[in-house]
């Protein structure tokens, strides 16, 4: 949320973003020091600084080799989760004190608050196995508050496995982030659904937010695309090719199997959940031209929302209100642009001013859109397709990706601080990887192997 505020401020205070971002981008390239200074300025100007966080290696409570391996996983995942959050200035592990406190009585705060560690916050604790159980005690201390330093104390008791060590680290990281991130829940326990290409078929896959645990969900042996998980994580809507063309399909993540969703005539694409989980918006040509439709979550009471010649596709609800939709519309002979409208089809507003703009995703706070845009698109024209964000109220935009191949399908994380997207150096599906970044375009990193596309971040 803080980052979004910064971004909004930056957009409002800079009249022509295209030119003013250029020196900023160059400064980012030239010097990490300048980059840090830029952050310092923008963060302090909103009254919130990045917090210097030390994540201690946890103290081993049992000497067996299994718990040593689990501790390696736990320590690495906790550090990565806190670094990925976009909230903390992480203390390098080489600057940590040599002691590994396992409990509040064992920590000596001056070691952590003093130079060179200079931490404002310390996450520490212990990890051990008892039989086939993994027991983790985690603490978060305010290093500068010598009288009442404890902010958080948690105990976790799960089956001893590498995956559970990973999941416990995610849960503890999210507890820390919830307390220090302005009350916004962390995303370390969220999932990303995406399309995986293998052997000519496209199946829906799932992975953890950090790219771990990549595995298939569907086994349909056809072309399945556009996965969208329901707000309660119980169902997965997507579009799949059968003999009658593309149809909306529904998979129950609770039952682990396909559930019925009515077929209709025409091509049915790009489902999108309303934030209360009651409705599904999608593109359908059941009445001739591809239009935006809304049905209830079981496919009943379908009603047409748009009435425009040409392709209308890729709707997404405003997750804050549920009362507005953004989508991509082509017009008679046009190139697609991003539009928004009320969910009854009124108050249509065009958002993009040209180029080729598709694949909108609406930020959780309702304030921003992110989408794929090729501003120089046209027959024979050079130019890349990149990820942009736009403030809905002002239509001011910032380009987030540069020279990273053809980018598409941005999807906001539930905390609004991250965006996941697909990018391919040669523009083709077989070169597509899934990447994530902070919503200001920094910390871009690949999550998946190639042949992965259309990521969708879970709502929680």
């Amino acid at each position: 949320m803080e980052k979004m505020l910064n971004l909004a401020r930056r957009m409002r205070t800079r009249p022509d973003l295209r030119w003013n971002l250029l020196p900023l981008a160059m400064a980012l390239l030239i010097s990490p020091v300048l980059r840090a200074q830029d952050w310092f300025k923008t963060e302090t100007s909103t009254g919130a600084g990045t917090i210097r966080m030390a994540a201690a290696n946890f103290k081993p409570q049992s000497p067996d080799p299994q718990s040593a391996a689990l501790k390696r996983t736990f320590d690495a995942v906790l550090y990565a989760d806190l670094a990925n959050a976009g909230l903390f200035d992480m203390v390098s592990k080489s600057l940590l004190p040599t002691s590994t406190p396992g409990s509040p009585s064992e920590i000596q705060l001056p070691q952590w608050s003093g130079a060179p560690t200079s931490a404002a916050m310390v996450a520490f604790g212990s990890l051990g196995t008892q039989g086939d159980h993994l027991i983790v005690n985690g603490f978060l201390f305010d290093a500068k508050n010598t009288q009442f330093p404890q902010i958080l104390a948690k105990q976790y008791n799960e089956q001893a496995s590498d995956d559970q060590a990973r999941q416990i680290a995610h849960r503890f990281a999210d507890e820390i982030i919830l307390r220090l991130g302005g009350g916004v829940s962390g995303i370390a326990e969220t999932k990303i659904y995406y399309v995986h290409l293998a052997g000519g078929a496209k199946e829906i896959w799932e992975m953890d937010y950090d790219g771990a645990n990549q595995h298939p969900v569907t086994h349909l042996g056809t072309t399945s695309i556009s996965p969208r998980v329901s707000p309660d994580n119980s169902r997965l809507a997507f579009s799949s090719l059968d003999r009658s063309g593309f149809q909306i399909k529904m998979y129950s993540l609770l039952l682990g199997r396909m559930v019925t969703f009515p077929s209709s005539g025409g091509t049915n694409l790009s489902p999108a959940w309303s934030p209360n989980g009651h409705d599904l918006a999608f593109s359908s040509s059941r009445s001739g031209d591809p239009e935006i439709w809304i049905a209830d979550a079981s496919g009943g009471a379908a009603r047409r929302i748009t009435n425009r010649k040409g392709p209308d596709v890729s709707p997404v609800f405003n997750p804050r209100t549920g009362a507005q939709l953004a989508w991509a519309s082509g017009g008679t002979n046009g190139i697609p642009q991003i539009f928004i409208m009320d969910s009854d089809g009124s108050n249509i507003t065009r958002m993009t001013d040209g180029g080729y703009a598709t694949s909108p995703s609406w930020s959780p706070n309702g304030q921003f859109l992110t989408f794929a845009w090729n501003r120089k698109y046209g027959p024979g024209a050079p130019g890349g397709q990149d990820i942009y964000i736009m403030e809905v109220a002002t239509r001011k935009w910032i380009q987030l990706t540069h020279d990273n191949g053809r980018c598409d399908y941005p999807s906001w994380s539930p905390d609004g601080r991250h965006i996941v997207y697909a990018s391919s150096p040669n523009g083709r599906m077989d070169g597509m990887k899934i990447w994530s970044m902070l919503a200001d375009g920094t910390q871009q990193r690949p999550l998946s192997a190639t042949g992965s596309d259309m990521p969708n971040w879970s709502w929680k």
Binding site: G200, I225, L269, S314
Partner: protein
């Protein structure tokens, strides 16, 4: 790059690469004796243009199967195959194209350029069709061949679903054939080129198929004989990043609906 899953079979590869490199760098100065065991040709300062052959075995596969590409050249200083890049003068490589693909080989030397082509057809297994009047695969194939002799696909401009004059001609010919053969039902499939969003291209393909359907109905074909489907850019005919290839993919395809 076409959508290829390439598995290299090292067919005397190292030796041949070494030989071609030596020859390529030396050819302007003097005749260089080929290293012993070289599969490459002797290069002369003036001489014939390259020769090239390119074959594929088998020529048609089911999706997911592999094809052996086999090529032989003589006199070439550089040999490239689209999608594979520079290759040795004589070689074999296994490829598993996801779609029907034209493999295109270019062999060059100072005296000229020679090209060779082979088309590999990838059959996407269709769900079993209900048997109608045309029973048996042979009968279907023959009927399809006659149909496609008389009915051509309709092609579209970039990002457009309006029927161009040539597409109107194609749709009129299709309608005439269908009016002569009232027993045939037709499937109109809409496609787009590889550029842009997959979701948007599926909607655009639907509009293209719709435009062709409307033309058929205007020309007297009853609506209940026509079924349309959009494949967008999900089933590309041609997988090169070139305008000629993109044009092949921007189309409405007519076929017999069984």
């Amino acid at each position: 790059m076409p959508q290829l899953h390439v598995r290299l079979h090292h067919v005397a590869a190292t030796l041949a690469v070494l030989a071609s490199l030596t020859l390529a760098t030396g050819c302007h100065k003097k005749t260089v004796a080929p290293p012993p065991g070289s599969m490459g040709p002797t290069i002369e300062t003036t001489g014939p243009a390259p020769t090239a052959t390119l074959t594929a075995e088998p020529l048609a596969i089911e999706l997911g199967q592999s094809v052996a590409l086999n090529w032989r050249t003589t006199n070439a200083t550089s040999v490239t195959i689209d999608g594979l890049g520079p290759v040795v003068p004589n070689g074999t490589q296994m490829v598993a194209p996801a779609n029907s693909t034209n493999f295109h080989l270019v062999a060059k030397n100072d005296n000229g350029t020679t090209e060779a082509n082979v088309r590999v057809t990838v059959r996407v297994a269709a769900p079993p069709a209900p048997m109608g009047d045309n029973s048996g695969a042979t009968g279907n194939a023959a009927a399809d061949a006659i149909f496609h002799q008389n009915v051509q696909d309709a092609f579209f401009d970039y990002d457009s679903y309006e029927l161009r004059p040539d597409a109107q001609t194609a749709a009129a010919a299709a309608a005439a054939y269908l009016n002569q053969h009232p027993e045939i039902r037709v499937l109109v499939a809409g496609y787009s080129d590889e550029r842009g969003s997959a979701e948007y291209n599926l909607a655009l393909g639907e509009n293209r198929a719709n435009a062709a359907r409307t033309a058929l109905i205007s020309a007297g074909v009853t609506a209940n004989r026509i079924r349309i489907v959009s494949y967008g850019k999900e089933k590309q005919f041609c997988t090169e990043s070139s305008e000629s290839c993109w044009q092949q993919n921007r189309r409405a395809q007519f076929s017999i609906d069984r």
